[in-house]
């Protein structure tokens, strides 16, 4: 099954800056894809289009059978529930404990508390943070914060995991840990799309590579 299809996608920002031009690609369910390229090449914009954080200026972006360009605003939350998003800056909530951060997507999906707590612990265990479930995120190291962000992204078992520079601020050891996590998720059938400029990571995981150069796909 083809899970993500972009055809003839352009993205222009107000002011005329063209972030992406004429992008066409297809990603199958269960693929492990790295979007690579220099900073400012348009990797993030590409992922934002897939997560319905941006809409394409022209062309169509179809994720899980939904056309992002024409999707009504009130439909977006339901599309996002099939996605797991991992951010370079983690976007953790520092006013609540580690486990409460992981519980947030389950809350939003309407899980009951007990089932939710069970799943949240399983997710924390998976990223090796179960022993810190009661800790405050501010006390975690950079690598731990990123793993917490990943736990939050996978706890509701999304079909697609989108990660924007997940290892951007981490040293090599942490980065390879994180990379291994993504490979694990991919091996249980999750489609993983990861934007990075970390070629070492790419070399280790042997993913399908999509290179973006100045807003266009490199041949």
């Amino acid at each position: 099954m083809t899970q993500i299809i972009l055809s003839g996608v352009h993205k222009r920002y107000p002011g005329g800056h063209e972030a992406l031009a004429n992008i066409s690609l297809a990603i199958e369910a269960g693929e492990l894809v790295f979007v690579i390229g220099h900073s400012g090449a348009g990797k993030s914009t590409l992922l934002k289009l897939m997560a319905a954080i941006e809409r394409p200026s022209t062309g169509s972006v179809i994720v899980n059978g939904q056309n992002i360009g024409t999707l009504r605003t009130r439909g977006i939350p339901f599309l996002r529930r099939h996605l797991g998003l991992v951010f370079q800056d983690h976007k953790l909530l520092f006013d609540r404990s580690v486990i409460d951060n992981v519980l947030l997507p389950l809350d939003i999906n309407g899980f009951d508390r007990r089932e939710g707590a069970r799943r949240a612990r399983a997710a924390l265990d998976k990223v090796g943070l179960l022993y810190k479930e009661k800790a405050q995120p501010i006390t975690l190291s950079g690598g731990e914060q990123q793993r917490l962000c990943i736990a939050r992204a996978i706890v509701h078992r999304p079909a697609i995991l989108l990660a924007d520079e997940p290892t951007g601020n981490l040293d090599a050891d942490y980065a390879s840990e994180i990379g291994a996590l993504f490979r694990d998720f991919n091996q249980v059938g999750v489609t993983v799309v990861l934007a990075t400029h970390d070629m070492q990571l790419a070399a280790r995981l042997n993913p399908r590579l999509i290179e973006v150069r100045a807003g266009r796909l490199a041949a």
Partner: protein, 301 residues
């Protein structure tokens, strides 16, 4: 349905936690709103008490006919005959001057003054019950004053009517005051929720990114607005209750002096409930406006 209820319960308890988690802020907010509501509420209660008094003391429009001091029993009979033949009046009774004096002595505590007079200054009188037809009062008055031995004709409901129109004016004043302060309440919750949205900006953004609907995000803010409104209403109720208590204590010597039982009553329970619901509704509305205005600016799209 159960999921929906659970989601609401969760939003509600989170809001309660937030509300009690910042007690000083909450208390200040609630006090401001309570004071704003207490003003029109207090005036309203004062007015309805006055209205109750007015109703108690003016049963039906009556016309009093006072005879001249030299009126004889023949004159009384003449007037009785005229009244009997007059259409359009509901009834009348004759109050002889001695009886009037007696009742004045017994009812108003002026016994000493009257005893000091030495003679009865009161005239014979007729009290004519004009029925419900208040418009006929004026023509009755002119008719009666043309009769012989009639010294004066009083339309007793005059003061009640004047009071009534004053009260109507008062009701408009209360209504205007209440509207102005209701707007203030909406503005206060609007701003409170705006600040709350600003402080929870990160949470809102993250929740949106991981699939929260607008309903999910709005819910705690709407609850918070309603809660502030409701608590404000309760504070207003208590303030008015306290003020009435003090008032009634102060009124007591006055009532003893005049011999009329005069206490100000607080809102009855349906009215209290309506007040609370109204305050809650206003709080909700302010929050709703704020949420509409501010949440959508955080839409990543």
């Amino acid at each position: 349905m159960r999921r929906w209820l659970a989601a609401h319960w969760r939003a509600f308890s989170a809001t309660v936690a937030r509300f009690t988690g910042a007690p000083l802020t909450s208390l200040l907010n609630v006090t401001v709103i309570g004071t704003a509501l207490a003003l029109p509420l207090g005036f309203y209660i004062l007015l309805s008490n006055l209205q109750g008094l007015a109703r108690d003391y003016s049963p039906q429009p009556q016309v009093s006919i006072f005879l001249t001091a030299d009126a004889q029993s023949a004159d009384v009979q003449d007037i009785t005959r005229r009244l009997k033949s007059l259409p359009g009046i509901a009834g009348f009774r004759f109050v002889p001057r001695d009886q009037a004096l007696e009742s004045l002595q017994s009812r108003t505590g002026l016994a000493d003054v009257i005893a000091g007079l030495g003679h009865n200054p009161l005239p014979d009188a007729f009290v004519v019950n004009a029925g419900r037809n208040a418009n006929a009062l004026e023509s009755l008055r002119t008719e009666f004053s043309r009769w012989p031995k009639v010294a004066e004709v009083h339309v007793d409901s005059d003061w009640a009517r004047r009071l009534d129109s004053l009260l109507a004016l008062g009701r408009y004043a209360v209504l205007m005051l209440a509207s102005a302060l209701a707007l203030a309440l909406i503005a206060i919750t609007f701003n409170t929720i705006r600040l709350q949205i600003l402080t929870q900006r990160d949470e809102i953004e993250v929740a949106k990114l991981i699939g929260a609907t607008d309903g999910y995000i709005q819910r705690p803010f709407l609850y918070l607005g309603s809660m502030i409104g409701c608590a404000g209403g309760a504070v207003a109720w208590l303030m008015v209750w306290g003020a009435l208590w003090v008032f009634n204590v102060q009124l007591r010597p006055l009532t003893e002096l005049y011999g009329i039982p005069l206490t100000l009553a607080h809102l009855n329970s349906p009215d209290s409930l309506v007040t609370l619901l109204f305050a809650t509704g206003l709080g909700w509305f302010g929050a709703w406006l704020s949420v509409r205005r501010h949440l959508h600016s955080y839409n990543p799209l």
